[in-house]
């Protein structure tokens, strides 16, 4: 296979051009060919009419799913035949040794699910938006293989630019406003990232993560000054990433943007940004958090606690479920970040817990959007909670699924959202951070309030003006098909029973991240 040859020949040190000569652009070229060939049709009128219809975009999205699945299959075969591929010459300091493929498979699965959900929301997508979705995929798959910080920066810019357009393009005029806000904030954070890279270059002389890790570990120079300067540099870096993730002092844009975005763009935003930026953080922290961890701990604690604080108290008065999920995403990001406090002592555990929490959050939020698409009404572009009233009267399965997802957001025991939380609390306690543990516990209790509000609206039949009724359902006139019933049952059962296999899952990921 050509893979092995490339990796043995090529030298990754300071060679940014290798980005474009690595194997992943093969995917890009395959899809580009497919995309371009689709424009050539024999019947000119039909192609003009079918330019912006729903069927056309749906076929393209389905083809994207198929392509992703084939890519995933190819990767699994690689992993089977070459289990010990070493992507880097030097194993020192870099922990992702050929096991990146598993994360890539997770990302591929995520994107398949997202594409399926965009199909469920029958929006009038223009043809070129699929290419924008593709940029997300490209970035997510390649970002784990980057050795150079500039490569990381380029890929982040790529998917950010695509996301600006997606947010602004799908929906109505408010979406454009949201897209503009998001673009300004994102560009600002990218500028900060460049400044950070400049400082990194000043300090280390390279932007190669391998070399940075070596320098961090085997630095015989005077450590005092470099420590403080590195914290200074890493603050810029972390701030730019915190901007993108919407961690607490830098969270203000998220609420406006998520509220004004349409459901589809909200989906792609929430899931992909977090996944990609989280992978980036994992990459950077394994090389960086060696000596600087003592000072960066305070940043993580501050960011985590303020995120959870803001997220809980901000979400209490929301009447819009997108604003609600914006604040809940702030809370989850707080939970992700606080784990890195003990990264130096126990790196596998920190990364594994954060990753699992993220996965389970994504599972819950995607199942919520699946059920929401069954309940979709045109006015739900604004995401008003009043249209979710009393679903249990008309549609028991969807209502029950929604209840289960929200109870797992809360953290009620037999459901899947309980164990990551309890393990995060326990590990915080174990490493000695008692007060943060207590704060997190009580703020998660307060945060349960706004999920509870939704559960109350769905199931307890209060007398309200607006109840969900099939007459309001302008978009989904058909009944639920068998496949969708099975998927909903599967999601419910998964939520209830995944906790039994949780240990296996957790140990697998912990082994990966060693």
């Amino acid at each position: 296979m050509s893979l092995n040859i490339l990796y043995t020949i090529c030298d990754y040190e300071n060679n940014i051009g290798l980005l474009f000569f690595s194997i992943i652009p093969l995917f890009f070229f395959i899809y580009l060919v497919f995309f371009l060939t689709s424009q050539r049709t024999g019947l000119f009128n039909k192609s003009y009419v079918a330019f912006n219809t729903i069927d056309f975009t749906n076929t393209k999205i389905r083809s994207l799913i198929v392509m992703l699945l084939t890519v995933g299959y190819v990767l699994t075969q690689n992993f089977r035949y070459f289990p010990e591929i070493k992507l880097f010459m030097n194993g020192v300091g870099i922990q992702f040794n050929g096991k990146i493929f598993v994360f890539q498979l997770c990302a591929i699965l995520l994107f398949c699910v997202l594409c399926y959900l965009t199909l469920q929301y029958r929006i009038n997508l223009k043809k070129e938006y699929i290419l924008l979705f593709y940029f997300f995929i490209f970035a997510a798959l390649n970002i784990l293989m980057q050795v150079n910080l500039i490569g990381i920066f380029l890929l982040i810019e790529m998917f950010s630019l695509a996301s600006y357009i997606i947010v602004a393009g799908i929906g109505n005029k408010i979406a454009i406003e949201g897209g503009l806000k998001y673009a300004l904030m994102g560009m600002f954070s990218s500028a900060l990232l460049i400044i950070a890279l400049i400082f990194f270059l000043l300090n280390y002389g390279t932007l190669n993560l391998l070399e940075i890790s070596l320098l961090e570990r085997y630095n015989y120079l005077d450590t005092n000054t470099s420590n403080y300067f590195i914290t200074f540099c890493s603050i810029f870096l972390l701030v730019s990433f915190f901007f993108k993730l919407a961690i607490a002092p830098f969270h203000q844009w998220v609420v406006d943007v998520y509220k004004s975005a349409s459901n589809v763009s909200f989906l792609w935003l929430v899931s992909t940004t977090k996944v990609i930026v989280f992978f980036v953080l994992l990459l950077i922290f394994e090389s960086l958090l060696h000596k600087t961890s003592e000072h960066l701990k305070y940043i993580f604690i501050f960011a985590g606690i303020t995120s959870v604080f803001v997220g809980t108290f901000g979400g209490l008065i929301q009447i819009n479920f997108k604003g609600l999920f914006a604040y809940s995403s702030i809370v989850t990001v707080g939970f992700l970040v606080i784990n890195f406090v003990y990264y130096f002592e126990n790196p596998e555990k920190a990364a594994a817990l954060s990753f699992i929490y993220l996965i389970i959050y994504l599972l819950n939020i995607l199942s919520f959007f699946f059920f929401l698409s069954k309940v979709q009404q045109k006015s739900l572009i604004f995401g008003d909670l009043r249209y979710i009233n009393n679903i249990m009267k008309s549609d028991k399965l969807v209502g029950f699924g929604l209840i289960i997802t929200f109870f797992s957001f809360l953290g009620l025991p037999p459901l899947v959202g309980f164990l990551p939380k309890i393990l995060i609390f326990y590990n915080l306690y174990n490493e000695g951070y008692l007060i943060t543990c207590l704060i997190f516990i009580f703020l998660s209790l307060i945060g349960a309030f706004y999920y509870f509000k939704i559960i109350k609206r769905i199931s307890l039949f209060q007398e309200t003006e607006i109840t969900f009724d099939s007459t309001y359902n302008l978009l989904n006139v058909e009944k639920i098909s068998v496949i969708e019933r099975l998927i909903s049952i599967f999601l419910i059962v998964l939520n209830i029973t995944l906790i039994i296999k949780y240990q296996i899952f957790y140990e697998f990921i912990e082994n990966l991240l060693k």
């Binding site: 009620l412 306690y429 174990n430 516990i441 109350k456 199931s459």
Partner: protein, 486 residues
């Protein structure tokens, strides 16, 4: 044997739940559920008779493999202590199902939720580790949310659900933190291991004792954190109130017995003043509040506060009789409060009021009911011949060894306080003038008569011959002492 006592009830309940979800005919579902719950009761009676009362420790245990081992293995066990509560749960649920038959809309879903609650309670009481107990403790919120929120009758039920849910979650989150501390000191969370000496300092044990107390005091309602109880009992349907008062309040006491006494043993002498003070406050305020109530169910809710706190006084009095009294009081209170709530529910079904001012003269309209209700209210008042009397007397005996002046206050407060509102209750419902505006009503049905009758029968038997339960408890208490607890 182990499997029959421990797993068969769970399997029976799960199968009933699944069949209830699939089948839509109410009669078949009812008979199936009733037979299953009765058989579970018979199994537990058999288990109780086959227990060796001279042994201390888990007598039947089974470990479930293939479950995730977070904070320890999943082991279910039956102990001398848990057998009583298992009997109580298995006894109450057939009565609840019998009461619901042909009275409630959507009985299938209601029965599903009830059986789920029973399942979780059995897991709670057979749990051998604190983690399993904690998980079941939290999962119970899920069906109770629907029982109170959906089948309750007024708009205020939403408020009640919020209070219930968030007060118990607060308690459970505090317990989570204590769980971490205990896991770090002991290395396991098995209840048997808590009797070993631990390495916590006095100050740490004090803080831990206060936190655990807060966590469990929300369930046994104690003064500052009891606010959920009146609301939840009033807004819940009758069967929901029965379960709440009959069993869910006992989880707090059970937890205290299992967790607080063994772990924070050295520190109870210094802290018990605080705990007993709060209990005394709850008794006084609860009885005064009950006397001023207009809603029947709120009265009974406050009376349950009073009775549980009297037991708590016995728990923290460092004597064998105190612990026995607490357990006995819990069991008798389970029976009495259930009976009272069933009675009030029967009145509500006929007259659609719980308002004391609208009721009166029921002895003329419903003689059978009035006899049984009268006996229940007397039992609530702790009259000799009923089980409450036995419990309270034993609490007083334990307080003699402890502090005599406290005994005087408690005796006056509890006996006077309870008699106050019980007498008001009797006079106003049964023996007052009959309002002309009350509609003509029928006396009790056969199954309602059975429900109230068997509860009264048990209460009187336990009051006259308490040795069925007290003899095993004496042995249990002796072994508590032998394990350096008192």
């Amino acid at each position: 044997m182990n499997q029959i006592y421990l797993l068969l009830p769970l399997i029976l309940l799960l199968s009933c739940i699944i069949i209830n979800l699939i089948n839509k005919q109410e009669t078949i579902n009812f008979y199936l559920n009733y037979v299953a719950t009765l058989s579970i009761f018979i199994i537990y009676c058999w288990m109780f008779s086959s227990l060796d009362n001279t042994l201390y420790g888990s007598q039947y245990s089974i470990s479930i493999e293939n479950f995730p081992k977070i904070f320890g293995e999943v082991v279910l066990c039956i102990d001398g202590l848990s057998s009583f509560f298992l009997l109580l749960t298995a006894f109450l649920f057939p009565l609840c199902l019998l009461y619901n038959y042909k009275k409630v809309s959507k009985n299938n879903q209601y029965s599903v939720l009830l059986l789920l609650v029973e399942l979780l309670l059995i897991i709670c009481f057979t749990a051998s580790s604190f983690f399993i107990f904690y998980i079941a403790f939290e999962i119970i919120l899920f069906p109770m949310f629907f029982i109170i929120g959906f089948w309750g009758s007024r708009g205020r039920r939403i408020h009640a659900v919020y209070l219930f849910f968030f007060y118990t979650m607060l308690g459970s989150f505090v317990l989570l933190f204590c769980l971490f501390i205990i896991y770090q000191t002991y290395g396991t969370l098995e209840f048997n291991h808590f009797f070993n000496k631990n390495s916590l300092s006095k100050i740490e044990q004090q803080i831990l004792a206060i936190l655990i107390f807060i966590g469990f005091s929300i369930k046994i309602p104690m003064y500052p954190l009891h606010l959920w109880l009146p609301e939840a009992h009033v807004e819940a349907p009758t069967v929901g109130s029965v379960i709440l008062a009959g069993i869910l309040l006992k989880l707090g006491g059970y937890g205290m017995l299992r967790v607080l006494l063994p772990v924070c043993n050295d520190v109870i002498e210094t802290q018990k003043g605080f705990f007993m003070g709060i209990a005394l406050l709850s008794i006084i305020l609860g009885s005064i509040a009950a006397a001023r109530q207009i809603d029947l169910k709120k009265m009974i809710a406050y009376s349950s506060v009073v009775h549980m706190n009297v037991g708590i006084l016995g728990l923290f009095a460092e004597h064998n009789t105190g612990i026995i009294a607490f357990i006995f009081l819990m069991i008798s209170h389970g029976l009495i409060a259930s009976g009272l709530f069933f009675g009030v529910g029967m009145v509500y079904d006929r007259l659609h009021t719980k308002n004391l001012l609208y009721l009166g003269g029921l002895s003329r309209l419903m003689p059978k009911f009035s006899v049984l209700f009268f006996l229940l209210v007397l039992a609530n008042m702790s009259i000799p011949g009923t089980s409450n009397f036995v419990g309270e007397i034993c609490v007083f005996f334990s307080l003699i060894h402890e502090k005599v002046w406290l005994l005087a206050i408690v005796a006056i407060a509890s006996s006077f306080g309870t008699t106050l509102f019980c007498v008001i209750l009797i006079i106003k419902t049964i023996y007052s003038y009959l309002y002309k505006g009350l509609s003509p009503i029928y006396d009790l049905n056969d199954h309602e008569l059975f429900i109230l009758g068997i509860l009264v029968f048990l209460i009187i038997i336990l009051g006259l011959c308490p040795f069925f339960i007290v003899d095993p408890l004496i042995n249990y208490g002796q072994f508590y002492i032998a394990n350096n607890l008192i």
